[in-house]
């Protein structure tokens, strides 16, 4: 008997058997459906999280180094040791710009939180950025209207600002933001530009809810003792490590760190953030998939149980088939196909349920169901059927025809 015709026959038998026991098959299916739904949703959430994170990070160019007081990835002990580090100063930034040979551009920035208002309209908790003329290039931003800060804006600390698209739309829904006045806390600022829409960060943080003013103005009127970040855009991605070493040397010299002491600053880069996220995201994914996999496992046990029942009550049928010439393999395949048919059906049903749920989840957290996930879910459901159906099918295949025929 060829494998193909064996398979075809098995599918027919499986259908007949399932149709004869609709309720039972349906209830058994439920376990797998729940398992597939939870695994799929988990996968969806994880890929959505990854995609959102990558998209958010795309704004920060990969070729940028961030000189800051603290490393982005500090453990608790490290944090305690580095807590008393000296601030990065504006002067540091200027010296780095002068000395760094591998840098394409150097910008300085600092950030805080403030309230922006126009007339009676108010926006609290706005992300306030102190930037300089190079920040547009270094931060990889683009403007939808107006202009960016100029060197003279920064040097003279002019009361001007660039608005994020969210703020611009909020205060000036009919346009005309450029040239208007806004108030940041008590400070009057003239809008000189509006940024293009960037979307939300993966945490839900709104990147467009920001206001940018000259760093000099920022330190004078907004934050007296700010923490600066020196952003260095490197000429060439392949020179990242060299540039990092050069900057380290420059900073140590500028801050007079003795040779036997460790750096009292950190040079961060996006790579590290991505690696960190991948490690964290990886463990979140592992835990999540493990937990949702448990429900699939429980579903699998249900399938195994029902297949044992199915084999037991069809002992006579197995006997007849064996008497007529069915080999062990034939019987084995028959029951495996039956189990796999149940779980495949459950998998399809699970996907049909998970898909609209994904759309609901997408409202809160960027989520998407990629095609490969659909494929994986279907393969997993068939595998669950084959694995959990194997023991019952093997028991059926090994039955002695004489005993099996004697069964009622």
């Amino acid at each position: 008997m060829t494998l193909l015709s064996e398979f075809k026959e098995s599918v027919i038998i499986a259908w007949a058997a399932l149709r004869a026991n609709k309720l039972r098959a349906g209830l058994t299916t439920l376990g797998i459906v729940i398992g597939i739904v939870s695994v799929t949703l988990m996968g969806t959430a994880i890929t959505g999280l990854n995609a959102a994170f990558k998209k958010s990070l795309a704004g920060i160019s990969a070729d940028t180094l961030f000189i800051q007081r603290f490393s982005w990835m500090t453990g608790e002990t490290e944090w305690r040791l580095s807590r008393n580090r000296r601030e990065i100063t504006l002067q540091n930034a200027r010296d780095v710009e002068r000395l760094a040979t591998l840098a394409a551009a150097v910008a300085v920035e600092s950030q805080g939180n403030g309230t922006v208002s126009v007339g009676r309209k108010q926006a609290r908790g706005v992300w306030v950025e102190g930037n300089d003329e190079n920040s547009l290039l270094v931060r990889g931003l683009s403007l939808s209207s107006g202009r960016w800060l100029t060197e003279s804006d920064v040097q003279s600390g002019r009361p001007v600002c660039v608005l994020g698209s969210y703020l611009a739309e909020r205060f000036f829904p009919y346009g005309g933001a450029v040239g208007s006045k806004v108030k940041l806390n008590d400070m009057n600022l003239e809008v000189i530009g509006v940024m293009e829409k960037q979307g939300s960060f993966f945490t839900g943080f709104n990147l467009d809810n920001q206001i940018v003013l000259p760093i000099t103005r920022f330190t004078r009127d907004f934050s007296r003792w700010p923490d600066f970040t020196i952003q260095v855009k490197v000429r060439d991605l392949s020179q990242m490590e060299d540039a990092k070493e050069e900057l380290r040397g420059i900073m140590r010299k500028l801050r007079r760190v003795p040779p036997d002491k460790a750096d009292d600053f950190a040079i961060n880069q996006q790579d590290a953030l991505i690696n960190f996220f991948n490690a964290v995201g990886g463990s979140i994914a592992a835990v999540g998939l493990f937990i949702s996999g448990l429900s699939l496992f429980v579903g699998g046990i249900g399938i195994m149980n029902i297949m044992f029942v199915s084999v037991a009550e069809r002992t006579k049928e197995i006997g007849i088939r064996k008497a007529i010439g069915a080999k062990r393999r034939t019987i084995l395949v028959q029951f495996l196909v039956e189990a796999a048919t149940i779980t495949l059906g459950a998998g399809i049903l699970g996907l049909l349920i998970a898909w609209p749920l994904t759309l609901v989840v997408d409202k809160f957290l960027a989520a998407s169901m990629p095609w490969w996930l659909v494929g994986v879910a279907l393969v997993v459901s068939v595998l669950t059927g084959v694995v959990s159906g194997f023991l019952p099918a093997w028991r059926a295949a090994r039955m002695n025809p004489v005993d099996a025929l004697r069964a009622d």
Binding site: M1, T2, S5, E9, A16, A17, A20, K316, E317, G319, I320, R321, K322, A323, I324, G325, A326, K327, R328, R329, T330, N400, P401, V402, L405
Partner: protein, 246 residues
């Protein structure tokens, strides 16, 4: 050369601490085209002998050659192949697949033999027509009478052109009239050259065969030619002759 050659066949079962000797050494040979009845009271070992003859079971010791092949020491899968090729079973309780129609039931041995689907469909239709069930091709077993079910079973037994038709109490679940019909069918098949072995405890049924083997306590008690095999009732014979020719 004989179709079946058995020498000193034994079969023991271990039940708990006790060993049951179901067959204690049976030797016999059966020629192609014979019509044989194996008789014996329950517990005599006739079912065990039938299981061994039908390759459903393997002997504890002894020699069994079927159609020139020693089958005594074959494994499960090899025996399945032999059953598929060489033996057609007819059971007391019909043993049809309840959820499949007559056609599919008759096709089943051909599916396991790996015959292409068009060819096997044609063959199954042909065989069902021969046993007079052309009209009942797409009926499921529970839509058929007992006699019709047994005819489907006979068609299933015949469809693979086996060396032996092995019938275990084929009339046991039928009323005497339909029983006669089935026996008439066997007679006609026998006359056409099929080898038929009927296992029964009914003297009436056994008397239709041309040779009767009596088993008692796991041994052959008698093996004799039936000088005057009883013909199936006239009407039954006519009917089966009609269907087999039509």
């Amino acid at each position: 050369m004989s179709l079946i050659q058995i020498h000193d066949l034994t079969r023991r079962y271990v039940m708990g601490t006790e060993t049951v000797h179901a067959l204690r050494g049976v030797s016999l040979s059966i020629e192609r085209g014979e019509y044989i009845a194996i008789m014996g009271p329950s517990g005599s070992g006739k079912s065990t002998l039938m299981n061994l003859l039908g390759c459903l079971d393997s002997p504890s010791s002894g020699y069994y050659e079927l159609n020139g092949v020693n089958v005594a020491h074959m494994d499960d899968n090899e025996l399945a192949e032999i059953r598929n090729r060489e033996i057609g079973f007819v059971f007391q309780s019909f043993n049809l697949l309840p959820r499949s129609d007559s056609l599919h039931n008759v096709e089943l041995p051909l599916i396991y033999a790996g015959m292409p689907s068009e060819e096997r469909r044609e063959k199954a239709i042909q065989t069902l027509t021969h046993v007079g069930l052309a009209e009942r091709m797409h009926h499921k077993p529970n839509e058929l009478s007992g006699g019709q079910r047994q005819r489907v079973a006979v068609a299933r037994a015949l469809v693979n052109n086996p060396s032996i038709v092995l019938a275990d109490e084929p009339t046991g679940n039928l009323d005497s009239r339909t029983g006669e019909e089935i026996l008439g069918l066997f007679e006609t098949l026998s006359r056409k050259g099929n080898t038929i072995i009927v296992v029964t405890h009914e003297e009436d049924v056994a008397q239709h065969a041309r040779r009767i083997i009596r088993i008692r306590d796991g041994l052959i008690a008698a093996d004799e030619v039936n000088p005057h095999p009883r013909a199936a009732m006239k009407f039954a014979q006519e009917q089966s002759a009609l269907t087999l020719n039509g």
